[in-house]
C-alpha cells in the first residue's frame, strides 16, 4: 500500500503508515484504532500504572518457579512464624513455610480465578443480555426479572450461599462468584443491544433474511463487546475481593493452597505474634485489585469516552 515511501527508514515508514489519515484496508484501520487506543492509554498515567502492575503479576505467575526461593509446601515446625529475614524475605507462616514463595505462587491462583470467572461470566452475561435486548417482549421480561432477582443479592452473600451449597474449593468458588456476577453484565449488554437493535444496519441485515441467532452473534454481540470487556475488567477487582472474602471465611481455596485470602485468614490467628502473615497477602490483594481497577477505569475512558 505504501510503496511511495520507498527510501525512508522502516520506523518512519511505519509511523507514517500508522498515522495515515485514510486507512488502506480494514486491517489497517483496526491496527490504527488499536494503536490510537494504546496512545490514549499511554496518555493516562494511572491506567498505565495499573496495566504495568497487571503485566508484572502475569510475569510473576509465569516465572513463579524461578522467583520462588523455597518449596511452598515444605514445612519446618522448628522455624515457624519467623519475621522477615535474609533467608525468608517475608518471614514464615505457622507451619514454617516461606511466605514470600507462597505469595509468588499465589498470583497464579488469583489470576486463575479471575481469568476463569471472566471466561464464564462474559459469554453468559453477553448472551442473556443481548437476547433480552434483541428479542424484547417475554424473553426480555423473563431474563431481566431473573437478573433483578440476582441483583437484589449482595454478590458476596450470594457467593457464600452457593459455595456453601457446592462445597468449598477454588473451582466451586469460581462458579459461585460467576453465578453472582453475570447479572450486571447482562444488564449492560441489554442496554447496549436495545440501542443497536433499532439501528438501520440491523434492519438491513434482517431484510437480507439473516436468522436472529446470526444477527445477535454476528452483529449485536460484537457491538456490545467493548463495553462488556471494560465492565468485566472493572469487575475483576471485586472478583478478587470476593474470592479473598470466601478464602477468609475458609470457603475458598483449600489448604495447603497458597491462595491469598486463605493465607490471610490463617494469618489472622497470629496477628499479634506475627502480623506479617496477614499483612503481606492483604497488601497483595489490595495491589491486584487496585491494578485491575485502574486499568479498567483507563480502558473505559478509552473505549467509550462518553462516560469518561
Amino acid at each position: 500500500m505504501h510503496t511511495k515511501t520507498g527510501g525512508v527508514t522502516p520506523r518512519a515508514r511505519f509511523s507514517e503508515w500508522i498515522r495515515a489519515p485514510i486507512p488502506q484496508s480494514p486491517w489497517h484501520a483496526r491496527v490504527q484504532q488499536a494503536w490510537l487506543r494504546w496512545r490514549r492509554l499511554a496518555g493516562n498515567p494511572p491506567a498505565m500504572m495499573g496495566f504495568c502492575v497487571i503485566v508484572a503479576f502475569v510475569l510473576v505467575a509465569i516465572l513463579a518457579p524461578l522467583l520462588a526461593t523455597h518449596d511452598i509446601y515444605a514445612q519446618n515446625l522448628t522455624a515457624r512464624l519467623q519475621p522477615p529475614s535474609a533467608r525468608h524475605w517475608l518471614g514464615t507462616d505457622e507451619l514454617g513455610r516461606d511466605v514470600y514463595s507462597r505469595l509468588v505462587y499465589g498470583t497464579r491462583i488469583t489470576l486463575y480465578i479471575v481469568g476463569l470467572t471472566a471466561v464464564i461470566v462474559a459469554p453468559i452475561g453477553l448472551l442473556a443480555g443481548t437476547a433480552a435486548g434483541y428479542f424484547g417482549g417475554w424473553a426480555d421480561i423473563v431474563i431481566m426479572r431473573a437478573v433483578d432477582i440476582f441483583l437484589a443479592f449482595p454478590s458476596l452473600i450470594l457467593a457464600l450461599a452457593f459455595v456453601a451449597a457446592l462445597g468449598p474449593g477454588i473451582e466451586n468458588a469460581v462458579v459461585a462468584i460467576s453465578l453472582a456476577s453475570w447479572p450486571p453484565i447482562a444488564r449492560l449488554a441489554r442496554a447496549e443491544s436495545l440501542a443497536i437493535r433499532k439501528s438501520d444496519f440491523i434492519a438491513a441485515v434482517r431484510l437480507q433474511g439473516a436468522s436472529p441467532a446470526r444477527i445477535i452473534l454476528g452483529h449485536v454481540v460484537p457491538m456490545c463487546l467493548t463495553s462488556v470487556v471494560v465492565r468485566v475488567t472493572l469487575n475483576m477487582a471485586s472478583i478478587i475481593l470476593t474470592a479473598a472474602g470466601l478464602g477468609f471465611l475458609g470457603l475458598g481455596a483449600q489448604p495447603p493452597s497458597p491462595e491469598w485470602g486463605a493465607m490471610l485468614s490463617s494469618g489472622r490467628q497470629f496477628l499479634m505474634t506475627a502480623w506479617w502473615i496477614a499483612a503481606v497477602p492483604g497488601c497483595a490483594i489490595l495491589l491486584a485489585g487496585l491494578a485491575f481497577n485502574l486499568f479498567g477505569d483507563g480502558l473505559r475512558d478509552i473505549m467509550d469516552p462518553r462516560n469518561g
Partner: protein, 288 residues
C-alpha cells in the same frame, strides 16, 4: 469603520489530541462595530468555535492563540478570568442554538433570567422580577407571569429561544454572539424570533455576531457577512453585495441554494480546492 467594538487578529484554535493536533481555527482576523455581522460556513468550519473563543468559553482541550482580541478597548487576551466574568453577559453575551439544552432544566425560567440580571446589576429580588417580566414581554411573551414560573421543558422551542434572548439581553450587553439561534426552530417561528432579535439589537444599538450555516438567512438579516471555510475567513463582504461575491466557494454556496427568482435544473454541489487555503500567518500572543 466607525467605533470598532470587537477586533480580532490572527486567532488560532488548536486541539491537541493523542493522535495529532487538529487546527480548527486558522489565523482568523476581523473587526466589527455596532452592526450585525454574520459568519457563514459549513458545520466544522470553525465558526462557532470563533464565537466562543472570543468569550474565552472554548472547551478546555482547545489551545487558543491570537495576535490580538480587543473588545471596546479591553484586551481580552490579557483579561483575567475575574475580568472576563464582568464582561460575559454584561458586555458580551451569547445566544445558543437549542433552548431545550441551553436552559437549565431544573431551574424556573424566572430564576434563570433574574439570575442573569442580578449578576451584573445591584437589584433586589422584586426589582429583578419586575425587570425580568418586562423583558419577557419585550420578547412578545403574552403571559410572562406564567412563563416566569414555568420550567424550560414546559415551553415550546420558539418561546424557549425567546426566553433565551430575554435572558441574554437583560443585562443590556454591547455585543451579542448568536450561535445558530434559529437552526433548531421551524421556519415560521424562525422569522418571528429573528424579528425580535433584530429590533432588540437595533433598538439598543448593540453589535451582533450572527453565526449560521444558512447563507440566505444571513444575507437578508445581516449588514456584513464573513464566509468561513476550514477555519479560515475566505471572504468578508457587505451582505447586499453578496450576490456579486467572487470567491468560488462563496459562489458555490450561493449556487447550491434553491432560488425562486431564477430557474435551475440541477443544484450545484460545492467543489473544494486546496488552493483556497491561504498560508496561516504566525500567531502572536498566546492566551489561555
Amino acid at each position: 469603520m466607525a467605533d470598532t467594538l470587537l477586533e480580532v487578529e490572527g486567532l488560532n484554535v488548536r486541539f491537541e489530541s493523542a493522535r495529532q493536533s487538529h487546527h480548527a481555527v486558522r489565523g482568523v482576523s476581523f473587526a466589527i462595530g455596532r452592526q450585525k455581522v454574520g459568519i457563514v460556513g459549513e458545520s466544522g468550519s470553525g465558526k462557532s468555535l470563533t464565537g466562543r473563543a472570543i468569550m474565552k468559553l472554548a472547551p478546555k482541550a482547545a489551545r487558543i492563540e491570537a495576535g490580538k482580541i480587543n473588545f471596546d478597548g479591553i484586551d481580552l487576551l490579557a483579561a483575567s478570568e475575574r475580568r472576563m466574568r464582568a464582561i460575559r453577559g454584561n458586555r458580551i453575551s451569547m445566544i445558543l442554538q437549542d433552548p431545550k439544552f441551553s436552559l437549565n432544566p431544573l431551574m424556573r425560567i424566572g430564576n434563570q433570567i433574574t439570575e442573569a440580571y442580578r449578576l451584573h446589576h445591584r437589584a433586589n429580588a422584586a426589582q429583578a422580577r419586575a425587570k425580568a417580566l418586562q423583558m419577557l414581554e419585550s420578547v412578545d411573551i403574552r403571559d410572562p407571569e406564567r412563563v416566569f414560573r414555568q420550567y424550560p421543558h414546559e415551553v415550546s422551542g420558539g418561546m424557549g429561544q425567546r426566553v433565551m434572548i430575554a435572558m441574554m439581553l437583560i443585562p443590556e450587553p454591547d455585543l451579542i454572539v448568536a450561535d445558530e439561534p434559529t437552526s433548531a426552530l421551524d421556519a415560521t417561528v424562525q422569522r418571528q424570533v429573528l424579528r425580535i432579535l433584530d429590533d432588540l439589537v437595533t433598538r439598543r444599538g448593540a453589535g451582533l455576531l450572527f453565526i449560521s450555516h444558512d447563507l440566505n438567512l444571513v444575507a437578508d438579516f445581516c449588514d456584513r457577512v464573513l464566509v468561513m471555510y476550514a477555519g479560515q475567513i475566505l471572504e468578508d463582504i457587505p451582505a447586499r453585495e453578496l450576490r456579486h461575491a467572487r470567491h468560488p466557494y462563496t459562489r458555490a454556496l450561493l449556487d447550491c441554494l434553491p432560488r425562486l427568482d431564477r430557474k435551475v435544473d440541477t443544484l450545484a454541489t460545492v467543489s473544494r480546492d486546496p488552493a483556497w487555503l491561504l498560508p496561516v500567518q504566525p500567531a502572536g500572543g498566546v492566551l489561555a
